[in-house]
Amino acid sequence: MNFELTEEQEMIRDAARDFAQRELLAGVIERDENATYPKEQVKRLGELGFLGMLVSPEYDGGGMDTVSYVLAMEEISKVDASVSVIMSVNNSLVCWGVQKYGSEAQKEEFLKPMARGDKIGAFLLSEPEAGSDATSQRTTAVDMGDHYLVNGIKNWITSGGTASVYLLIAHTHPEKKHHGINAFLIDSKLEGISVGPHENKMGMRASDTHSVMFNNVKIPKENRLGEDGQGFTIAMRSLEGGRIGIASQALGLASGAYELALQYAQERKTFGKEIFKHQAIAFKLADMAVEIEAARFFCLKAAWLKDQGKPYGQASAMAKLYAAETAMKVTTEAVQIHGGNGYVKEYHVERLMREAKLTQIYEGTSEIQKIVISRGLLA
């Protein structure tokens, strides 16, 4: 067993930290307040190769391992989770599926520009009445012989309004239940696609989240990803990896809030001494440090399993559950340590707390993770 990071993994972590501190921190409060999409920041994310860091160099990606991805996601999420969610969806939910299941033509057309950051990808699974319960898809893709005809609505789509590429999940043979689901790789500007208004969210306000409507959209046959009926497997396998991304995001929210609280506790004085010297605060920080370290181990273990080619679904569910719960607890305590200052925007921790809440909900709620984990116990 080895807990040492490689020289290269440390370099990637430091590069992500430099990027976050130098290029994301300034303006993060305003972007959140005004729900402004971080266009320039996402462009830089692409230039630095973070948007396709897990994609093979053969397809213009960085060819980095998942451990490095966890480290980068943590550093970027410490500062701006609206940016890191775009990175996570592009890498884990869209690029991964195309690299794994896509044809060479699809990789050429869609994967390469996404890996370079020239195009952004969105993952269209959730519906008004089907989130993690993916078999209840109402969106249909009827096989018309030479094309599929798609009708339906997708909800809560990260990058829904800005993405150029959609990875769409829809039912082709509802009678076959999950064996009748297909995945498609499409241009987001196809005729018949319309995008709903920007969701006015509690947190991660700068990432653009939309509903996407499909009204008699013709999708060419060659845009189906994988085999006929393989869509459910593609969606579930993508989410297994996606959970590592969101777990790392939650970890970053927790460690970012902890770092701010630790610094504040050494500066703020009450009753003649720094509040860190009051045991009530020192013990809070000790608890936060322990839980963050445990969450980090969960994330790195899941990433390591993935890099070793071993099953990681159970580990990624545990990482997502534990890191999200830790993020909520730690960010709330960070606000508490900041007192009144924690309740105002300029100290950042209230934003991190609002953002942490989403990590308990999206890409499978904490309750869904427990379903995945408990089913795995009997497997």
Binding site: E8, A15, F19, E47, L48, P57
Partner: protein
């Protein structure tokens, strides 16, 4: 045209400095090492010049005199865009030792431009560049804030008190780099980090030589005294404190 950039491996600027061995050694436990910020600016400018098609720079090489712990720093220089790294395997004692080792390498490996940061954020010797130029018998341009090369013609700006001096010169020379030479250091991109795996990092033996100085002891600066705020209406209290505590009256 070839540029050599001298790289110091220094503790991160936020490091809490501690000493061991009766205050004769810096305690490097837990220290994160970085490229000396002024050297990083020099490297960034060298890479910018190479990328700009209007000049004929075909190689940017970095050199460091240090032990294997410096390899990560050199690898970062390669990831940022240097073509090749040289490490002279020695634990440098002073600036003269470093300059002499680099000068020895330059005897058989000539470069047109050698860049070095004006200071290093660890020992702040500010002397490697000047010593190198003496060894090389070529000009040293100190406090360089701009470096332009066009069709082989070199133009340099130097920061001087109250203004700047603009020079034209021929190679070879040593440029001692000040802030302003470029906007800010580069963040290595994933592609650069990946390419750095295949770039050469050559480790050479040091030439035998004595250092000209030895360290007796390090001392940390005295901690700043705390500040006492006296209400403007209590001038008597201020006078008393100046007499009894500060003892300046």
């Amino acid at each position: 045209m070839k540029i050599l950039v001298c790289i110091s491996n220094v503790p991160d600027t936020t490091t809490k400095v501690k000493f061991t061995d009766n205050n004769k050694q810096v305690d490097d436990a837990g220290v994160q090492w970085i490229i000396n910020p002024w050297d990083e600016l020099a490297l960034t400018r060298a890479i910018e010049l190479k990328e700009d098609g209007n000049n004929s720079i075909d190689e940017v090489c970095v050199i460091n005199v240090g032990l294997s712990k410096c390899d990560a720093t050199l690898r970062k220089a390669l990831a940022i865009g240097a073509d090749k790294a040289i490490r002279i395997d020695a634990d440098p004692i002073d600036a003269y030792y470093v300059a002499a080792q680099i000068a020895d390498y330059l005897k058989n490996n000539p470069f047109d431009i050698v860049l070095s940061g004006i200071e290093s954020s660890d020992y702040n010797g500010s002397s490697v560049g000047g010593m190198l130029s003496e060894f090389m018998d070529c000009p040293a341009i100190s406090s360089m804030t701009k470096l332009e090369i066009e069709n082989g013609n070199v133009t340099i700006h130097r920061a001087i008190p109250g203004g700047k001096q603009i020079l034209e010169l021929t190679t070879p020379f040593v440029g001692i780099v000040q802030k302003g030479i470029t906007n800010e250091p580069r963040i290595p991109a994933m592609r650069g980090i990946m390419m750095a795996r295949k770039k050469p990092l050559e480790v050479l033996s040091a030439v035998e030589m004595e250092s000209l100085s030895h360290i007796v002891e390090f001392e940390l600066p005295v901690a700043k005294a705390s500040c006492k705020m006296i209400d403007a209406e209590h001038l008597e209290e201020l006078v008393n404190l100046l007499k009894s505590e500060a003892k300046v009256l």
